[in-house]
């Protein structure tokens, strides 16, 4: 049988093609979690641990959209703020519970987060605007205003979408005011989790907000869903 070279033999190739997957753009999510002694009352810390663990699972199984969710948890309690979970891809992050003890060094947490956001080794230039989520049940016990201003003045801190969750019935007006200063957006309010039972809902709201962003065609522009609009989708 005759061959037909005129159909076009390709360029001779010896070892085949190459396969290099472009890395997805990270969408950093940093939870600032209050682990002061008061969080131990009424089992608030337990519910918080469970809720964050649930959020971890949701992020890990979320279909890949435009970017990859990376998650960090900065805990503040005792006399320091620390990276309970350094920024890690959500598919690899494993949750370990936090323990509640001591005071509420929120200023230290703001400083640590500012440091993380400005370090290109942690948040590379290719990352989408981060999401910062502040969860607290009380007033800061250290100097917090200047650290907050520095955070909000930093390019990543300013462009971040910032959410706040106020926990517990004892949340004072002053503590709420701190959370509002952090959000720094008149359109958006603090998510109120007065009852401990509302903490999981607060984290569902965070989960939906973040996954909606990462699946959006405009991850840097998508706004926050007002918490009350979520109500109808809660089980």
């Amino acid at each position: 049988m005759k061959g037909c070279p005129e159909l076009g033999w390709g360029v001779p190739m010896t070892q085949g093609g190459r396969f290099v997957a472009a890395k997805q753009r990270p969408l950093p999510v940093i939870i600032m979690a209050d682990v002061s002694g008061s969080m131990d009352v009424d089992g608030k810390i337990d519910v918080l641990n469970q809720s964050i663990a649930e959020m971890y699972r949701a992020f890990a199984t979320a279909d890949a959209g435009r970017g990859a969710i990376h998650i960090a948890v900065v805990a503040f309690g005792g006399d320091q703020a620390y990276e309970h979970q350094p920024l890690t891809s959500a598919t690899e992050a494993r949750w370990t519970d936090m323990a509640a003890v001591g005071r509420t060094p929120l200023g230290a947490a703001f400083e640590l987060v500012t440091e993380m956001l400005t370090d290109e080794q942690v948040v590379p230039v290719r990352a989408f605007h981060p999401a910062l989520i502040l969860v607290s049940d009380g007033e800061p016990t250290d100097e917090w205003e200047e650290p907050l201003e520095r955070l909000l003045a930093s390019p990543r801190g300013r462009s971040a979408s910032r959410l706040a969750v106020g926990i517990g019935p004892e949340l004072t007006d002053r503590a709420r005011a701190v959370l509002r200063r952090f959000i720094a957006d008149d359109e958006l309010d603090v998510f109120d989790a007065r009852d401990v039972d509302r903490i999981p809902a607060a984290f569902r709201w965070v989960t939906v907000t973040v996954t909606r962003r990462v699946n959006s065609a405009r991850p840097n522009e998508v706004g926050v869903i007002p918490p009350d609009e979520l109500a109808e989708f809660e089980a």
Partner: protein
């Protein structure tokens, strides 16, 4: 968005205008104008419109959906409006084709996956070509009816989740436009909106759809967005938003301007893609950027993609599908085994071309077409109307099958008319009636054997078997 609500079950129930209740199970897509949810049962999806600025906007959207419903969409792979949701909800139900997911799932590997294995196991190049051909075909049919899709993007294209199925379905019919209006800016997804749409110079047009289509096809086949080179992918999101999405950077394979070149994806691309496809991409992303009319039309894409799909072979070693005209497997480099191909020819019919040649016995004027189909060794190769006819009404109608088994090749006529087989033995063409078969030794196929899809002497297409 999908992951979370899986464990919760139905997250909400909505009623349609006929009082039918639909339990929304999980979100399968989200666009600028709302979310698409899968209803319990898996074959119905529900689009729930996003936040409205007020009653006026809501009424306008509702009215648009009612108009969309009257557009002629029969026979097109598009999920039209089945039923509107009962007010106060705004949205509609639509039918899916089996279990589907967004096309974007085939464009970029999930985190942690082995790229090469993922690409192959999601159907490889051959399935992606088939899916893209069907997408282009759906868009071409819309365009043929004077309708622009408007917001064509990977999030609005659903494909079969199962690799054995090749269903494609356009969703999000909200923006179907029967005429371009400049009064309101076109709806588009960043990275897919045509340059003239992004700049605000044009509303929704079929040429704007053609740009989005070219972008989606390139991204699906190569896993690289044509305007997101290394500079963009490794740079801040602002480079993508402010430069790439506004076409201030050249496309990734621009021959002279290499600013936006990329090493990501499947390379070399000139080995992966056929010359015909590469020419179309070049037209779409160089001349077509400034001149919408220079872009390949959706119909041109459909034809080139169907051809490329027909001309793929599977590597006998690693299972990868690659161009039949390449000598080596794209993935493992193994030399390609020789394959039999059905090569298409055309006959312009006796006397049509040249009346002066009446005395020479009336030889027809013949020509080779740049098309062939690789004959499958394991199952019957389907010969469709788009292979057998010049302007088929239904390009995907089955005309004949050709099965190779041992030393024998069997042709089955599945059409409603006769086929003609000339064995090259001097006996001339013999008719194969509808439903009948004709068997030939494979070794004799190369000796002047011809398969004619029309009566000898008429204007028709025919085919020969070659070894490639």
């Amino acid at each position: 968005m999908v992951g979370y609500f899986d464990t919760v079950g139905a997250v909400a129930t909505v009623a349609d205008e006929f009082g039918q209740l639909w339990s929304l199970e999980r979100q399968i897509g989200s666009g600028g104008q709302g979310q698409v949810w899968l209803a319990a049962g898996g074959r119905i999806a529900v689009k729930v419109a996003g936040r409205m600025s007020g009653q006026a906007e809501a009424a306008a959207v509702h009215g648009r959906l009612r108009r969309v419903r009257r557009l002629p969409l029969e026979g097109i792979r598009i999920a039209g409006v089945d039923a509107l949701l009962a007010p106060p909800r705004i949205g509609y139900t639509m039918q899916l084709a089996g279990e589907m997911f967004e096309l974007s799932q085939l464009q970029h590997p999930p985190p942690g996956a082995d790229f090469e294995i993922w690409y192959r196991e999601t159907g490889g190049l051959a399935r992606r070509l088939r899916l893209m051909a069907r997408l282009a075909d759906a868009i071409a049919r819309l365009h043929a009816r004077g309708i622009a899709f408007q917001d064509l993007a990977p999030g609005n294209v659903m494909v079969s989740r199962a690799v054995e199925h090749d269903e494609v379905l356009l969703i999000d019919v909200d923006n179907l436009a029967v005429r371009s209006t400049f009064a309101e800016p076109a709806v588009y997804t960043p990275g897919y909106g045509a340059p003239e749409v992004v700049s605000g110079a044009s509303g929704a047009t079929t040429s704007a759809d053609a740009h989005a289509l070219a972008t989606i096809v390139f991204e699906t086949l190569t896993t690289v967005h044509p305007f997101r080179g290394d500079l963009v992918v490794d740079g801040p999101p602002e480079t993508e938003e402010d430069q790439a999405n506004r076409y201030l950077l050249p496309w990734v394979d621009h021959v002279e301007d290499r600013r936006n070149a990329t090493d990501y994806g499947l390379v070399p691309r000139d080995e992966l893609l056929s010359a015909r496809l590469r020419t179309l991409f070049e037209r779409a992303f160089v001349d077509g950027l400034a001149d919408p009319y220079a872009r390949p039309s959706s119909a041109e894409w459909a034809s080139a993609l169907y051809s490329a799909a027909d001309q793929s072979v599977a590597c006998s070693d690693c299972g990868w599908s690659f161009r039949a005209s390449a000598i080596n497997c794209f993935a493992c480099g193994r030399p390609r085994q020789r394959v039999l191909v059905l090569r298409y020819m055309m006959d312009l019919g006796r006397g049509l071309m040249d009346d002066a040649d009446e005395d020479d016995g009336g030889t027809s004027s013949s020509g080779k077409l740049p098309e062939f189909t690789v004959l499958d060794n394991s199952e019957e190769t389907r010969i469709l109307a788009r292979h057998a006819a010049f302007v088929p009404t239904n390009p995907e109608a089955l005309v004949a099958g050709m099965a190779l088994s041992g030393d024998w090749a069997t042709i089955t006529n599945y059409s409603r008319g006769d086929l003609w087989i000339d064995r090259g033995n001097g006996a001339g063409p013999v008719a194969v009636s509808p439903g009948a078969t004709s068997t030939t030794r494979i070794s004799e196929l190369g000796e002047g054997w011809e398969l004619h899809f029309g009566r000898p002497g008429s204007t028709h297409r025919w085919a020969v078997v070659n070894m490639l």
